[in-house]
Symmetry: C2
Subunit: 450 residues, 2 copies
Amino acid sequence: MNAEQSPLLTDLYQLNMLQAYLQSGRTATAVFEFFVRKLPDRRGFLMAAGLEQALAWLEGLRFSEEELDWLRGSGLFSPDLIETLRSFRFTGDVDAMPEGAVFFADEPILRVTAPLSQAQLVESRLINLLHFETVVASKAARMVLAAPGKRLVDFGLRRAHGAEAGLLAARASHIAGFDATATMLAGARFGIPLSGTMAHSFVQVFDDEARAFETFAKARPDNLVLLIDTYDTEAAARKVVALAPRLREMGVKLHGVRLDSGDLAALSRAVRGILDDGGLREVTIFASGGLDEDDLAGFTRQGAPIDGYGVGTSLTTSSDAPALDCAYKLEEYAGLARRKRSTGKATWPGRKQVWRSYDGAGRMIGDVISVEGDAAAGEPRLRPAMREGRPVEPQPSLAEIRAHAAEELRRLPEPLRKLEPGWNYRVEVAPRLRRLAHEVDRRIDAIARS
Amino acid sequence: MNAEQSPLLTDLYQLNMLQAYLQSGRTATAVFEFFVRKLPDRRGFLMAAGLEQALAWLEGLRFSEEELDWLRGSGLFSPDLIETLRSFRFTGDVDAMPEGAVFFADEPILRVTAPLSQAQLVESRLINLLHFETVVASKAARMVLAAPGKRLVDFGLRRAHGAEAGLLAARASHIAGFDATATMLAGARFGIPLSGTMAHSFVQVFDDEARAFETFAKARPDNLVLLIDTYDTEAAARKVVALAPRLREMGVKLHGVRLDSGDLAALSRAVRGILDDGGLREVTIFASGGLDEDDLAGFTRQGAPIDGYGVGTSLTTSSDAPALDCAYKLEEYAGLARRKRSTGKATWPGRKQVWRSYDGAGRMIGDVISVEGDAAAGEPRLRPAMREGRPVEPQPSLAEIRAHAAEELRRLPEPLRKLEPGWNYRVEVAPRLRRLAHEVDRRIDAIARS
């Protein structure tokens, strides 16, 4: 039971509900939408990601014999249900914003239209995939905006929350504009460019830094980046200068040095000076060590001579906002719009669409949320992504998704490019959607009174 | 390439370093230790978890033909290295604190002793596993302390960071004292008790709550818990009372009701009153909806009549502290102790052990960190976990690990049982370890001057 594929990676209540739907003959078409209720503090927008994984998971969804055996042995479910699950496939439709899309609170970014049991069972894993990649893409976009023109590399596998998180964080950050990742499997699986230097342990094994550098250079003559903060950063920079002629003799091109601790702005200036004085003007400075987007913005403001950043924990855990207040909610069943009215969690009913308008310069100026058939002005944001259980072809390549994300960031209004936007983008709920909500409320109230 | 098993789930620099170690003949024994540098805000202790997964991963570590092919095709590595990787196995030793152990900053919770290339290659994934389960177990322990005597259920799959995070969060929280999880695969893989109710969508499909409740009851006659906040919580509680005779006729025992929104303390009192007045004194009240340990402590303080909690996002993302400042550092190579001296990140060198002392009542009173062979007083905390690549038998069962964790929580000093400890547990660095650090520094300085 591979966790990434198993349909048992779901909440028990999904199967409880399937059992009840089966017994009560509730098999009509249901419409669920995934959206974020409220943006986290300091976030002026979010960036959608995870659709490719969600579609692949839906397409491959089936119960193995091993899984059916386990369900049977659990004693929790009727033989009828288990027999139904044997032939379970997802045959529904999905409409979604493309990955890389900039979106806002209450805007559905994915809609599932399928027989009720299918649309219900997939809830847990769909949220699990879309939520996480969206969290990371949204965080990564902030770093991209904070460090214009700098090389950004994902260093965050080790503190990502498990294997899949490490892997998908590399993908989501690459979509948002990161240049490369240190995670090899992300290179193997998604073709993301890899980047990596050396660890402090390497220097410690040799005790003698210069000897460690030379040994590493021999083994890695291409794209050589030396880590220079194990003992004393400025002393190590001078060792690099002293070693440079020897590296040239060996035919090694020194690409850069990496700083991983201390006052990085001050050290980068000192090291830049030492390298320049030593004739190593073309050697780049790469910085890492617990950085987040505020650090990056600080270095940008100070004009620190740093050419690129390795960002780890703050990126792959989205440390200041590791979760979004998101939901996957029933909006229609058997042709009737539905809504949840729980305190503080009421939803807009029905199949919805989002339209976006732009100013003359191509910057986004406002969105409208309405029912699907409404003729609102602007660009419709949700598009067909899957029909009858098959992804709509052609699916975009990772490079195309990344280009789309870059275009979306270019179209952001100026205040949303800041780390503290303090400004709300205009998202309107159209009159037709408000009327539908009232109609649904009247129907529910009538049933409650009857 | 299954992400949970693949040795390519590592950082590029690990293989870069292996290449250099291979070429320079650095094959002696290395000792690395995993520890946390600093506890997050508001945390007075941490709880170790993830060892079982770490040992299983080490034992199963090998490169498949597919992975070797990819490495070859990447053009990043020498044919020599790829040939070496073909027969790569982990043959080293691991010493560790058992899962469920309470530990503090600077205390190693795991030590790897192995040929350098092995000990180095495993770094990224070992941290990835130990870090995440420790994060969640430590967070879950706070919830367990905040809600004494209450049933706690993990509801956090959907906002956990990917598949493995959802699965391992269920395990880590169960170790720390959670009673059950909603994640089915965690039941299938680890045997953790499952718990689940129904979603709002179920009620919405019927519009009519009473009809939804009855349909669900027919399908799930055991352990029935009804969700009563979709429209109006108190009205729904009265519907439950009205439905009760019918359920009894059907032979269904109503176990509880669930509240998922609104002012849970006030609603629980109102609902308790309605249920009691309706003769349903034995029906329990279960609460959920964006809860964290502070909410739980608040309900405990107010004496809210809530019997159990479903906790999701705050648990599985450890939302206030989604990452630990942890490291896996080289402490010895070829028989010589080593240390990193980078600003703010200096480490204690050598193979270390931690000893713990207790007062007469069995409460912990202080720890000592020293070199392994030191004869400090107290209970040694690191124990053999793997020898020559094989886990030391018998490995504890999940139930035994959970019992150990409960015992550790019982032994906590009183201030550490609070959510705001504001008090530091005493952890001493023994004189022998300080002397060793000085010796290492003298050696490094001598090399630097030479």
